[in-house]
């Protein structure tokens, strides 16, 4: 850790300064240089006319920025926001009363309540001055007060407003490591944990480390959560797709992985990593343990980093499936640090806590040498640290109230209430989609989404082409205009060419679901009436 070389930047600066001094020696000595004395010379520099640097326009910004896309907050959402403004300005101007945002996994924006215990602890950590007051006992549960004290004692000076260690506060990482160990039955090292502002920045960091040029490829599931495609584009790499099989509940076949890997390599792409989202987004499938073992074996054999997006680990709705972390699976196969590079991502945004706005999360990195870990630390340190409140929340999520704690029962009631409701909503919407003409929808075994497939009539596809829109986007726009429901076209996630889907969250409050289903059903019927072949 101590070998960080300061030289390069200094050398760069020194070299350029040397050049400057040598070429400008006379000017250096003769001109009166300082602003207080020198008159302002109001003319452009240089005698010969250099090419004028273009100002920052669309044509001259980083093309990787222009290339990347992120449909979750893309065009359809912009349209929805405009419609929302119109409703506010002119109530009754649309055939619906409100916009229902089913485009994004943002539970609390649709009425889900936060877990009380977590918020109590966070509030106390935000304002520790009240911990000493007797009135606080009346307003907060005793175990929340105790946990706040415990956490504050792990923070130097109890200063929640100070930058922390760039990987996150040590005591909180200890708690998270213990939580991982309790979950998996295998030890976790707090120094392997990097707390980040949500899981997304951690994904970006890994892409930055892995991608050297467009010759570097990352295997991604199709359909995928478009953070991956966007991040790969932004970092100038190549996305190597592997198709999940819709016919078998979005199954992940090793033969498909091998095939895509082979194809990419034959094109001269160095495939560096495999992204697996489990439970899946947008597809919702929970991998079977056997499947996971095959994936681990594949990564080990091919020397790929396994990037395990496990942010939906608490969202499993079917009794026949269970979440197993890739770390647990690897370790139970007897594979340790020397055998496999593994990065596991977790977030406070999903699960039953749904704390998206807090931007809390972490990655656990195992199987990397000290020199690489130094680089990761260095990149993390440029941003100093992630937000402290989010760090605290990540530790709470990984070590919630236990049996015997004062808040345990109310915590369980809140948690189970949310998860059972999500499970019911997943089923209700799945059934509703399957009842629509020409629509098939796989079960959401986990996560927060449904990804129905719509078999669009030829007439509709032609109508879409006429307005230069992808058929699924055409359908989604019409749906929005008719019902106010916002979903994301499947093309934003990737799909087998010629098939059309959209992603809809299961997050509207349960009492709104029947109305959502009615509106959807009515719209779909009239759409099919209009375009049926």
């Amino acid at each position: 850790m101590r070998r960080l070389v300061i030289g390069r930047t200094r050398d760069l600066l020194n070299r350029s300064h040397q050049n400057y001094r040598h070429s400008q020696h006379s000017l250096f000595l003769s001109s009166s240089r300082f602003l207080s004395s020198a008159p302002v010379i109001d003319s452009p520099s240089s005698s010969s006319s250099p090419p004028m640097s273009p100002p920052v326009t669309l044509n001259s910004i980083n093309p990787k920025v222009v290339k990347c896309e992120y449909a979750v907050r893309g065009e359809i959402v912009t349209l929805a926001q405009k419609l929302q403004e119109e409703i506010q300005a002119k109530p009754g101007s649309q055939p619906f009363e409100e916009i229902l945002y089913c485009n994004i996994g943002n539970p609390q924006s649709l009425g889900q309540q936060p877990i009380t215990f977590f918020r109590e602890v966070l509030a106390l950590c935000d304002h520790p001055a009240i911990l000493d007051k007797s009135e606080t006992q009346g307003l907060f549960s005793a175990d929340a007060i105790e946990r706040a004290w415990q956490i504050l004692d792990q923070i130097p000076g109890r200063a929640t407003g100070a930058y922390s260690h760039s990987q996150g506060i040590k005591g909180l990482r200890d708690t998270i490591a213990a939580g991982i160990e309790a979950r998996d039955g295998f030890p976790s090292n707090p120094d392997d944990i990097f707390l980040t502002d949500g899981a997304s920045p951690a994904v970006h960091m890994m892409m930055q480390l892995l991608i050297r040029s467009e010759k570097d490829g990352i295997l991604c599931p199709i359909p995928q959560y478009p953070l991956y495609s966007a991040s790969i584009a932004l970092h100038g790499g190549t996305l190597v797709p592997y198709y999940l099989d819709e016919a078998t509940g979005w199954g992940l076949e090793i033969s498909e992985l091998k095939k895509q890997l082979g194809t990419a390599r034959s094109k001269g792409i160095a495939v560096r990593a495999l992204v697996v989202i489990n439970p899946g987004n947008p597809t919702g499938q929970v991998l079977a343990e056997e499947n996971q073992r095959e994936i681990v074996e594949f990564c080990k054999d091919e020397g790929l980093v396994l990037l395990a997006d496990e942010v939906y680990q608490e969202n499993v709705y079917v009794p026949e499936k269970k979440f197993h972390s890739f770390k647990k699976v690897s370790r139970s196969m007897g594979y340790g640090e020397k055998d496999i590079h593994l990065v596991s991502f977790q977030s406070v945004s999903k699960g039953y806590y749904g704390e998206c706005g807090k931007r809390g999360g972490y990655m656990e990195v195992t199987g990397f040498g000290a020199d690489v870990r130094e680089q990761m630390y260095k990149v993390a340190s440029v941003n100093l640290c992630s937000n402290i409140s989010g760090q605290i929340l990540a530790s709470l999520v990984m070590s919630p109230p236990k049996v015997g704690d004062e808040s345990y029962e109310s915590y369980c009631a809140e948690r189970d209430g949310i998860l059972l409701s999500l499970s019911r909503r997943a089923k209700m919407l799945e059934d509703a989609f399957n009842n629509l003409e020409g629509v098939t929808c796989n079960k959401a075994e986990g996560a927060m989404y449904l990804f129905p497939r719509i078999h669009l009539p030829e007439k509709a596809i032609r109508a879409a082409e006429e307005v230069k829109t992808a058929p699924d986007a055409f359908y989604c726009r019409r749906l929005l205009n008719a019902t106010g429901i916002v979903v994301v076209p499947g093309s934003g996630f990737g799909q087998v060419p010629g098939t059309w889907h959209f992603r809809c969250t299961i997050l509207p409050q349960e009492d709104k679901i029947p109305a959502v289903i009615d509106r959807l059903t009515d719209f779909h019927k009239s759409f099919m009436d209009e375009y049926r072949d």
């Binding site: 640097s53 307003l139 930055q208 050297r212 941003n383």
Partner: protein, 481 residues
Amino acid sequence: MGPKALDYESLNENVKKVQYAVRGELYLRASELQKEGKKIIFTNVGNPHALGQKPLSFPRQVVALCQAPFLLDDPNVGMLFPVDAIARAKHYLTLTTGGLGAYSDSRGIPGIRKEVAEFIGRRDGYPSDPELIFLTDGASKGVMQILNCIIRGEGDGVLVPVPQYPLYSATISLFGGSLVPYYLEESANWGLDVNDLRQAVVQARSNGITVRAMVIINPGNPTGQCLSEANLREILRFCFHENLVLLGDEVYQQNIYQDERPFISARKVLMEMGPPLSNEVQLVSFHTVSKGYWGECGQRGGYFEMTNIPPKTVDEIYKIASISLSPNVPAQIFMGLMVNPPKPGDISYDQFVRESKGILESLRKRARIMTDGFNSCRNVVCNFTEGAMYSFPQIRLPPKAIEVAKKAGKVPDVFYCLKLLEATGISTVPGSGFGQKEGVFHLRTTILPAEEDMPAIMDSFKKFNDEFMEQYEDYRSYSRM
């Protein structure tokens, strides 16, 4: 089998090029020593609360209430929280869609961006558009987003002051661009000369670099100088003629310790210069809740404001912001409170003013104590800290020390700072981490240790320095050369 994907050799080269000394070698050594039980005074980073500065009460009250809205329903809440904090918490909750736990608009909560725009309008006397203000997880993230848009490849150069806050050099390395340095003149109070800027650009262009942007840090970091209005006019004219986007890092705008040059924003000067400059010069201005008298580093709250950036570019910047979904909501509320603090007549006003003034007055005193303390050492010259949070003394090192350092494989100022750390527990950042002229050495320390600890810290430094000089200022070594 060949090297694995994440073996050191096969990492992205740009990552390897990144240097960020603020949390580099000195800090890591200091952390090691701390673990061994040594008392360390961390003055390596502008992190006020870590050195005992208390958070302002009002914002913490408001955010705590927003975190736990069920408190607002409790009849006893008034016993712990003042009425205006309660009202403000309710106000901010209504601005969100779902409270603190929901992703906001990717640009930040519209109502808070409006508060920021109003603040800018009051500060500068020119209206600001909330649509062109993006809240970010700290100003650093905003800087990275903007530089990511500007830098297409190593052919793109960004003018950066030397010395600079190494976020800029690190980010330029990370994105594969070229850093084009312009030197600040230490003997002229870290002044900036437009002729130097011009030469830097000419030089860069002759090396095939397209210079695209210019960074100014005002007040400066690590140098602390406050730019005058005349300075800013020159810089803006320069950017206009050279077609550069100006990146105005103004995160220390509340930290001003002299009265000759109060803070004036780049935007205000630009607007005052009128057309064509005011319509054409592209400007991005950055601010934060981490500095000033707030010092809320751990919240990660910041914003950037765009001036004269074309709508299509703004769309692209929005798109990049949307991939990270939204900046953290609690910090957005801190930002709202910072730009819209308690007003006269509010219950919390007096306490707020007392707390704020206390911090600023003390910082002003500490800036003076530290500058004077450094200048009292014969081999140290230190410009006064006009603003920001740092002292950047120049340490004249004797040739023998430099020799010994090189033999130990260390840059001379790193060598000095390590010795200082080991002897006194004072953890600084060597000047090489910020850039300096060849053969000139500095260290950066903050002015943040508690006022009552300052005299002892400066004594401790002086004692170490004098002993160091005695040890290495050995005239016999000259005759051997």
